[in-house]
């Protein structure tokens, strides 16, 4: 059974994954996607097109 994760992002719009059901660390919010690890990572590969922190994107 693959453990469940959620897709999360911080104020710099840097994406990551976090175990579902665990308290989310401060400064991170849910992106609204939950699933297996690979499912979450595939989602991130689609939506996170610029890896730079938002503060330096021009």
């Amino acid at each position: 059974m693959e453990a469940n994760y959620i897709v999360v992002l911080n104020h710099e719009e840097q994406y990551s994954i976090w175990p579902a059901g665990r308290d989310l660390p401060a400064g991170w919010r849910e992106a609204g996607v939950e699933g297996g690890k690979s499912e979450c990572l595939e989602h991130i590969a689609r939506v996170w097109t610029d890896l730079r922190p938002i503060s330096v994107r021009r």
Binding site: R22, P25, A26, T49
Partner: protein, 1097 residues
């Protein structure tokens, strides 16, 4: 009147039936009763004893199974009366008059007649001699074959002050019996005439005879059936020890005794009562949670000792009946603590119902993987000593104070025993292997147990996953106290720091190369011209990558600095890369241009723009830098690393991270403009970033040289001396080839990248020269963890230390929780050193850069290094290997890196890699590929002294160099098959001794005749520790020599072992005799030799 009659008939029938049943049951019980058997010279011993007897042989001489009691007796003591009381006990209990012999490896017992008279040995002593004397009493070996299995003695300190020592061998007595012994001693001493002890009609020898028959009945088969299913699929507990397990353990141990806090003890008793479970079940459940956290395993199998007194006839007997059982806890599925307790209770009850099968028999039946130096099935015990079994030593008129003898031995890795104390408290008594564990580790074990029990009592309905094992203090220590306080960070850009140095001292030398100088002014001017070219001609801007494909020389820092001034990120490429790899990286990074020279440009794909630095292309651009907007979060460089799987990925390191690294470096080493720092590292690796920019940002001088000069130890030595180099960051293997004596200017050795031993440090460290062990993945910018070796010599490999400035190191388990000190976990790094991520790979970035739950600033990330480390008790990190290099070998966890490390400590070995062959099968084996000059047998022997036997590779393949992938990692697919001809070529048996040993091994291991060769390994053939003893016994019969069983572990190959026998036989005759025989043979004519040989065969 028929009704009453009928009723009578029914009653009579019923009564008859009842009587029949009663008779049958009685007959059956009569048949199954333990009955006295005739005393003969050689009687059977109980299975428990047989097992212990084997173990006793294995530990040759160590007093591992001696059970001691010692007490101070103050007051008038009647020594004669005490002697007589002890003699009375020995006379009444045969077990204390039993000797053990063996025939063909099968032990038997002989009971001696009761002693007519006996005097307690009395020695005079003083207060200071007490501990030595009681320790001496317990540490002396018992000769079970020729002497009684007990030793009583009295130390006289004064007329009314004595110490009594009572020691016996565990083979004749157990915990239950010691309570009886103490009670009988009290009664006999108190009233020598009146003490009325009925003569015992049954003794342990009668039980042994009965047990033999019982073992042939149906009942044991049923119990064994139960155990088969109970241990099915059981994982051995793999608790990482503080020190490597020796291949031939001495059984050295320590005892640690303490008490649980009284309120916790009360809480435990209350909850056990409320839940209707045993104290053992409740405390064991807490211990299971603890071990689950320590090991990451969900299947926690522990041994536990039960009294074995399952028949009333055995109760009055003094003897060894206690038995070890296995109790498993299943923490899979994260159960509620209360449920775990009830499951433990059920399992313990089941174990009790099936405890009659002796543990040794169980081991023989279950045939678990046997490892020399390790207890079979369970090496870790959790047990409860019930109040009824705690011996009470009392002598009327004398005040008794218990003393603690230190046998300095242990039977298991760890025995964690809860003592159910009469005063309502709970004691903790731990016997542990001091070869494996440090004392602090055991103290922490009790601390963690106390914490987890406390938390579980306060919320028994919590899931076990959420229970705390660490105290708040320990959390603070590992998360905060052992990480540096956040400090000020320099907020400038990397090239701004260099520009400031150039402005301060324009004529200072920035770099030396091949006897020439490049000044800061020249560097600044040329890199500015390059920056203009990049901005104007190649549209470089922040976020764009520019490749640098150059040999070592002045162009390298110029190019890197020029890219930064243009706002871009440089990507260093190694001119030695194959063209495909170059093309891949250039395409993957979507480079704006390649900076290179005419001779190297041929390797660049035609469609990629290039700028040749060996032309006058830059001369037309201005000498002052272009104006571009760059942020500290913009990428400064991209360096490709290869993951364990898949294609290389480009790590994007921002200015913030590299500036933090360079400023930290300057502070750590107090770098000044007078420093001359070697540029050794391949420019395509990030250590070169340190060589170049730590120097330039501090105003120092880079000392460079062509690759060929750096890789030649003699030339490198000359360069370091000539250029008076003050700091080096080079691989340990290279440093090892240099001579420290002639390098007086060298004040810093910053060594890392791979683990190294104490020798290197001790050879190079000296007053005025710092030796650092640095650690860091590219993703955390060159080096993020550092250890400054102390001035005094090291006796083991140095740890990697602590996080450097503005960084944080966390050691976490799989659920991202901090692990306690000493427990292995994965290293996570957070703070100013973190890269932005992997270029063009958001998914892999998200997988390795996770939310940091421990950060004080919200929204920070932490990087999962994939490296296994642990905190030592001083708060330094120890590197243990890659988290993914752990393999299973016949169910046992094996760290391949550990084996490689051990091989690399052998003289002449330069490099090696170890792989598992036939992995996942029961015949899995290890192959070592070794680069260097070495003697295979000597290496094997060296390893068997360092590693447990199952970790010593079976096959060794010498290679000139390891096959590498294009990224520089070992290419496992191209390692040759160590056994190209399909199986191990069987080596012919060449001597008569070898042939006879082969016969013994064949019959013992049930192998076909002719299937064993001279190079076969006893353990690889399937031999286990019990069979070692049998083998030694058969060798004694065949060759009349007695070998220490442990010798087989050092010489496991048939040829080696046969040579040991030959040596032992010669030693028996003496040199003179052997020389005389040799002389006789030397004189014989050839025909005579032939004739004699034929005769003897």
């Amino acid at each position: 009147m028929s009704a009453p009659n009928e009723r009578n008939v029914a009653d009579i029938r019923r009564a008859l039936l009842e009587r029949k049943v009663r008779q049958r049951v009685a007959e059956k019980a009569e048949r199954e009763k333990i009955v006295p058997v005739p005393r003969t010279g050689k009687m059977a011993i109980a299975e428990q004893q047989r097992f212990l007897w084997f173990l006793h042989q294995m530990v040759a001489g160590a007093p591992v199974y001696n059970v001691p009691f010692a007490m101070r007796l103050r007051g008038p003591l009647d020594v004669a009366r005490l002697s007589e009381a002890l003699r009375g006990i020995v006379a009444r209990h045969e077990s204390l008059r039993t000797r053990f012999g063996d025939e063909h490896g099968v032990p038997f017992q002989t009971v001696d007649p009761p002693p007519e008279s006996w005097d307690l040995p009395v020695t005079d002593g003083s207060e200071e001699s007490i501990q030595d004397w009681i320790d001496g009493q317990v540490r002396e070996e018992f000769d079970l074959r020729n002497s009684p299995p007990y030793r009583f003695g009295l130390l006289r300190l004064g007329p009314e002050d004595h110490v009594l020592s009572i020691v016996w061998h565990h083979i004749v007595i157990d915990g239950w019996s010691s309570r009886q012994f103490a009670e009988e001693l009290t009664a006999r001493y108190a009233d020598p005439e009146g003490a009325d002890f009925p003569e015992l009609t049954l003794q342990p020898a009668d039980f042994a005879a009965w047990q033999r028959l019982w073992l042939l009945s149906d009942e044991p088969a049923k119990q064994i059936e139960y155990w088969h299913s109970a241990v099915d699929g059981m994982e051995p507990l793999e608790w990482r020890t503080d020190r490597q397990r020796p291949s031939a353990p001495t059984g050295a141990g320590r005892i640690y005794e303490t008490r649980l806090p009284d309120d916790l003890a009360r809480g435990i008793r209350d909850l056990a009562k409320a839940e209707g479970v045993s104290l053992l079940a409740l405390t064991m459940a807490g211990y299971q949670v603890l071990l689950n956290r320590y090991t990451g395993q969900q299947d926690i199998a522990l041994g536990s000792v039960l009294s074995g007194r399952t028949r009333s006839e055995i109760e009055p007997m003094m003897g060894f009946f206690a038995n070890t059982v296995v109790v498993r806890g299943d923490l899979g599925g994260n159960p509620v603590f209360r449920d775990l307790v009830h499951a433990a209770n059920d399992n313990i009850l089941e174990a009790m119902a099936h405890q009659d099968v002796p543990f040794g028999r169980l081991v023989e039946e279950l045939k678990p993987e046997r490892l020399p130096g390790r207890n079979p099935l369970v090496a870790h015990l959790f047990t409860l000593l019930p109040e009824q079994m705690i011996a009470r030593w009392r002598l009327p008129g004398v005040e008794v104070e218990m003393l603690t003898p230190q046998p300095e031995t242990t039977r298991f890795d760890i025995t964690f025993q809860i003592n159910d104390l009469p005063d309502g408290g709970l004691g903790v008594w731990i016997e542990y292997s001091s070869e494996l564990f440090d004392h602090e580790r055991i103290e922490r074990l009790v601390e963690h147990f106390t914490t987890v029990m406390g938390d579980a009592l306060s919320r028994p309905d919590a899931r076990v996953d959420s229970l705390d094992i660490m105290s708040d203090d320990e959390y603070l220590r590992v998360l905060t106290a052992w990480n540096p306080e956040p400090g000020e960070r320099d907020e400038r850009l990397l090239h701004e720091l260099v520009a400031a140095r150039a402005a301060e001292a324009p004529d200072a030398v920035a770099m030396r190369f091949a006897g020439e100088d490049l000044t800061y002014a020249q560097l600044d001017e040329r890199s500015s011209r390059l920056a203009h070219a990049l901005v104007e001609e190649f549209k470089v801007a922040p976020g764009r990558v520019v490749a640098v494909l150059l040999e070592r020389g002045f162009d390298l820092p110029v190019a890197e600095l020029g890219v930064l001034k243009a706002g871009g990120a440089w990507l260093p490429l190694d001119p030695q890369y194959p063209p495909e790899r170059l093309a891949y990286q250039l395409g993957d990074a979507d480079v704006a241009a390649v900076l290179t020279t005419s001779d190297l440009a041929g390797g660049v794909p035609a469609d990629v723009a290039r700028l040749l630095l060996d032309t006058d292309a830059l001369d037309r651009w201005p000498a002052s830098p272009p104006s571009v907007q760059v942020s500290q979060e913009d990428t400064a460089y991209v360096i490709y690393t290869s993951g364990s799987t898949g294609t290389p990925k480009g790590v994007m390191v921002p200015h913030r991270a590299v500036v933090n690294f360079c400023t930290t470096f300057q502070q750590m080493f107090s770098v000044t403009p007078d420093d001359r720092i070697l540029q050794f590292s391949n420019p395509a690796f990030d250590v070169s970033v340190s060589d170049v920019f730590s120097t330039l940002t501090a105003g120092g001088t880079i000392v460079g040289a062509p690759r060929s000069e750096l890789l030649d130890p003699e030339k490198l030595q000359g360069l370091l001396a000539r250029e008076r180099v003050t700091m080096v960051d080079i691989p340990p293997a290279v440093l090892g080839l240099l001579d420290p004596s002639a390098l007086d200017d060298l004040r810093v050795c910053f060594i890392g990248m791979e683990p190294f031993g104490a020798d290197l440090v001790n050879r190079w460290s000296k007053p005025g020269r710092e030796f650092h062990n640095g650690y860091g993945p590219t993703e955390v910018t060159v080096t993020c963890v550092d250890y400054l070796c102390p001035p005094e010599p090291l006796d083991g490999p140095p740890p990697i230390g602590r996080a450097m400035a503005n960084q944080r190191a966390y050691v976490l388990d799989k659920a991202l929780r901090p692990v306690p000190v000493g427990v292995p976990g994965e290293l996570y790094m957070a703070g100013a050193g973190l890269a932005i991520g992997y270029l063009g790979r958001p998914d892999q970035t998200a997988e390795k850069f996770l939310p940091d739950p421990f950060a004080t600033t919200p929204g920070e990330r932490m990087y999962a290094t994939g490296d296994l480390v642990r905190w030592n008790s001083d708060g330094n990190l120890e590197f243990l290997g890659r988290a993914d290099r752990q393999v299973k070998l016949r169910g046992l966890r094996v760290e391949l890196g550990e084996i490689e490390h051990a091989i690399e400590t052998f003289d002449g070995v330069r490099q090696c890699v170890v792989t598992v062959r036939d992995q996942g099968t029961s015949s899995a084996w290890l192959a070592a590929y070794v680069v260097g000059e070495f003697e295979q047998d000597a290496l094997r022997e060296h390893l068997s002294g360092l590693l447990p036997l199952h970790m010593v590779p079976t096959d060794y393949v010498r290679l000139d160099q390891l096959p590498l992938t294009s990224t520089g990692k070992v290419d496992h697919a191209r390692l040759p098959d160590p056994r190209p001809d399909g199986g191990a070529g069987q080596v012919e048996l060449s001597t008569e001794t070898e042939r006879r040993v082969a016969e013994i091994w064949q019959s013992l291991l049930s192998l076909d005749a002719g299937s064993i060769g001279a190079q076969d390994n006893f353990f690889v053939l399937g031999g286990n520790s019990l069979q070692v003893t049998q083998m030694i016994s058969r060798v004694r019969d065949a060759f009349q020599v007695t070998l220490d069983p442990r010798r087989l572990f050092s010489y496991p190959l048939l040829s080696q072992f046969a040579a040991q026998i030959d040596d032992a036989q010669r030693a028996l005759l003496g040199d003179d005799e052997v020389a005389r025989l040799e002389a006789q043979i030397a004189d014989l004519p050839e025909e005579e030799l032939d004739r004699l040989l034929k005769e003897s065969s």
